[in-house]
């Protein structure tokens, strides 16, 4: 077992253990190497959401809220 683990570590050694990132990395040219990020709708609306409402994790509600809010950039909605 120990040998297997050692063997596994040796295999992985080629890829490198990145202490800063805290996880093993495989550097693939052109792929993002940074911290993971959440999607904007993953969290529920906050106290600053100004009326935009959606269910956490659900994309559709969030998209709809944004599109609705975006119509504020079109003054033709309130004056032809």
């Amino acid at each position: 077992m120990l040998a297997a683990m050692l063997g596994a570590t040796l295999l992985l050694g080629a890829c490198g253990d990145n202490e800063k990132l805290g996880h093993a990395t495989t550097y693939e040219k052109g792929k993002y190497q940074g911290k993971p990020d959440t999607r904007p709708f993953d969290n529920a609306p906050s106290a600053y959401s100004n009326g935009s409402a959606w269910d956490a994790g659900k994309k559709e509600g969030w998209e709809l809220a944004l599109k609705r809010r975006q119509q504020n950039q079109n003054e033709y909605n309130r004056a032809e």
Partner: protein, 208 residues
């Protein structure tokens, strides 16, 4: 959802810098870092036009392509963000970007480059949404709050549109129809090259 886009309607932009200070205010961007700025051509003569410029969140982002540490990523909505913890401040993205979007806080002699900073489409960065860390490094995350970029929401004449690309196109198309002209935005002719085979070139933008 279509990708997130900005469009600045040059017929309406009056160079008021509302977008510039809205961004400064929203993210408390320090002096010397210009995430957004207004560019004017033909200043002071008929034909003067202004356009607000920031990161264009390109589909095929040059910054992302050239970064030696690959600190850039693109969200599903098309927003180009980057990880400041990884950024080494080499400035290569600045070379690559046609719009000059990457900014480097200037301090000390020789213009020491710090971590690159740029417009985030008010979508923060790779930290927990609306956390202290995200605020410190990237500014506010309005998208995660269900809002749109501060610059577009506060534009004085609603020249700068920002949000879902389809909606931006709709709003702009409506204006162009009302005006009867204005579809010949900058770069129209050059973006699509010269017409061939006898087709007519689009008319010159009228001087006004």
């Amino acid at each position: 959802m279509a990708r997130m886009k900005f469009l600045c309607d040059a017929e309406r932009c009056i160079e008021c810098n509302g977008c510039v200070t809205a961004c400064k205010q929203e993210h408390e961007v320090p002096w010397g870092v210009n995430r957004r700025r207004v560019v004017t051509i033909n200043d002071g003569v008929p034909g003067e036009k202004s356009i607000s410029v920031a990161c264009m969140h390109c589909s095929d982002a040059p910054c992302m392509a050239v970064c030696p540490v690959d600190c850039f990523y693109k969200t599903d909505e098309g927003v180009v963000l980057h990880d400041k913890d990884l950024c080494i401040g080499c400035g290569y993205c600045f070379y690559a970007c046609p719009f000059g979007a990457p900014q480097f806080p200037q301090a000390g002699a020789f213009g020491l480059r710090g971590k690159m900073d740029k417009c985030t489409f008010c979508n923060g960065g790779p930290e927990k949404d609306n956390s202290e860390a995200e605020w410190q490094k990237y500014g506010r995350n309005r998208l995660a709050e269900g809002k749109l970029p501060a610059c577009a929401e506060m534009c004085s004449t609603k020249a700068l549109l920002g949000g879902d690309g389809d909606v931006v196109a709709d709003i702009y198309r409506n204006r162009v129809l009302k005006r009867g002209r204005g579809a010949e935005v900058w770069g129209w002719a050059s973006a699509y090259g010269k017409p061939e085979g006898g087709a007519k070139a689009p008319p010159d933008a009228p001087k006004s």
